[in-house]
Symmetry: C2
Subunit: 333 residues, 2 copies
């Protein structure tokens, strides 16, 4: 048996536990820790973990794999708590929505014999907490894999394996790329959705207006109902990129404002038509959801994962392909 520690048993930590238990992973002893005793008990009863640990250090001790799934800003303290008990070749990963800051903390706080590979499953829900955990949460979703300079191929392989076991598609990128991409595709929508809701909600006419709200208003403001702590953490740890995109959003709204005020009716119609065409294309060209990986009838063991027997070939191919690509431009064009 090999120990997999999940520290933090909220929506993501709990769902990873459920998805790994549902997968064909053999010989895994999944140990979880949450500060809340009630959460630990719920996670155990739901089958997200085999047993609960008494603290983060207890969970991480002798673990082959440690998954940190706590709020981003608690990561340094967790890394400090567990650093001294991690065995050689232990693979540590996280699930935070921003990666640059986490990678710096890991480089600073983890010993050299540990391989840190940042992770970010692109999946979520309006609800948070263990009660919302779902074994199918990651199916068909991208899973960002962000290797640290210290992580060797075997360590990277472990996270690729985990991503595939839970039904996700691993995508390699560096921390800077990750943070600039998600600033546009995830954090900007979060702030815009929240700002739209708070603006309209503050209006004196809200009681009358809200009666007229249709599904459009609900959908566009949905992200305002996310976890406030997570939203704040995201903005704090990806501040520069988020501010950059907010400035660009202001400029884009101004562009529409000018089209609406202007007399060129064709230009406004063209802008709406272009957005529709491109969004319809984006929606229809999306990847089909895939089921969690069931590599063989007999399943794979944690030690297969660790020595990379299973995923190595795939990782090698991906890394080789990456090497061939010219250096990518920063998305701040």
């Amino acid at each position: 048996m090999a120990k997999i520690a999940i520290i933090g048993l909220g929506l993501i930590g709990g769902s990873l536990g459920l998805a790994l238990k549902r997968s064909r992973l053999r010989d895994a002893d999944i140990v979880g820790f949450s500060r809340s005793a009630a959460t630990r008990e719920k996670a155990r009863k739901a089958g997200a973990i085999d047993r609960a640990a008494s603290d983060a250090q207890d969970a991480a001790k002798d673990a082959a794999i440690v998954i940190i799934a706590t709020p981003i800003l608690t990561t340094p303290q967790i890394l400090k708590d567990i650093a001294s008990v991690l065995p050689a070749n232990c693979v540590v990963t996280d699930v935070a929505s921003t990666k640059g800051q986490v990678m710096r903390w890991a480089a600073e706080l983890l010993p050299a014999h540990v391989g840190f590979v940042g992770g970010h499953p692109m999946a979520g829900k309006e609800m948070s907490g263990i009660d919302a955990a779902d074994a199918a949460l990651f199916e068909g979703r991208p899973y960002c894999v962000v290797p640290s300079p210290q992580a060797d191929e075997a360590a990277v392989n472990v996270l690729v394996g985990i991503a595939e076991l839970v039904g996700a598609t691993p995508l390699f990128m560096d921390a800077e790329e990750h943070d600039s991409y998600v600033a546009a595709i995830s954090h900007l929508p979060l702030v815009v959705s929240t700002a739209l809701f708070s603006l309209v909600r503050e209006s004196a006419a809200w009681p009358e207006m809200s009666r007229l709200a249709s599904s459009g208003f609900r959908d566009v403001t949905r992200l305002a109902s996310g976890s406030p702590e997570m939203s704040e953490d995201i903005c704090r740890t990806n501040r520069e990129n988020v501010v950059h995109w907010l400035d660009r959003m202001i400029a884009e709204i101004r562009r529409y404002r000018e089209l609406i005020e202007g007399d060129d009716e064709e230009a406004l119609l063209r802008a709406f038509a272009k957005a529709k065409r491109e969004r319809d294309e984006f929606v229809t060209s999306g990847p089909a959801p895939r089921r969690a990986e069931r590599p063989t009838d007999a399943g794979i063991s944690v030690s297969d994962l660790l020595v990379g027997r299973w995923a190595t070939q795939r990782t090698r191919e991906i890394m080789k392909a990456l090497e061939k690509e010219p250096p990518q431009q920063r998305p701040k064009e």
Copy 2:
């Protein structure tokens, strides 16, 4: 039998036909017109209309009730086409997303013996056209009722009756209130959603970013997939209100930008927490969907609708309640 004409057989016109036919409305001869022969045939086959007319005038001739469900900017031409054939006491209504302009056109182009009552069912879908028509589209949705100064109580009653027959909840307001409310709750989200999509889509890193897009990005940008013609019409006919709200949105994004750049962590967290609390409250306090009205086992006839036997009492109560209220403030605070 009394004739109900539906001019324009797209999503809204087609759905109104289906919903009226499904309701317990008796003695109605529902005649529809669309410029497209294929659409007319589809509407007839789908059961949205009893028969098709050869043009708008043919549809409206001798009609007791005329529902105009064409793009807003075609309304003046339709009104001109039908004005001379409308019988005395005919009730004309529309479904346009903006009301001020439509009310002015009706006052100018319709004869005095016709009662115009503006209508706006707050229901929609990403898809448009007769193929997307749905008898349940209006269930539980608000239906704005905007009486013209010339419309008498019986005319207003007819639209209240139609709204209730299709399962919607009639809400009385004047055109100016309507246009300022929907600018915030409907047109602002439309432009913001479109601008967010077009901004991110134009990025050089779109191929990489789009692979990371989660359900949040899809939901918040959903309105970018609406009908470009309808979006343009909305912006043109409600320009002043839309521009007003775009300016306020820019200011609100700036407020978040400053909170994110600032050092007061509590203030940013408070802003996210307030938005979440208020949106959760809004979502959970929403009205429960209601089924289309089935007033009696025997149903009601169009003549009941016209003489107001059915809805009069309700309309009187609503109008009385409105008279008691102090004059409402404009929502531009």
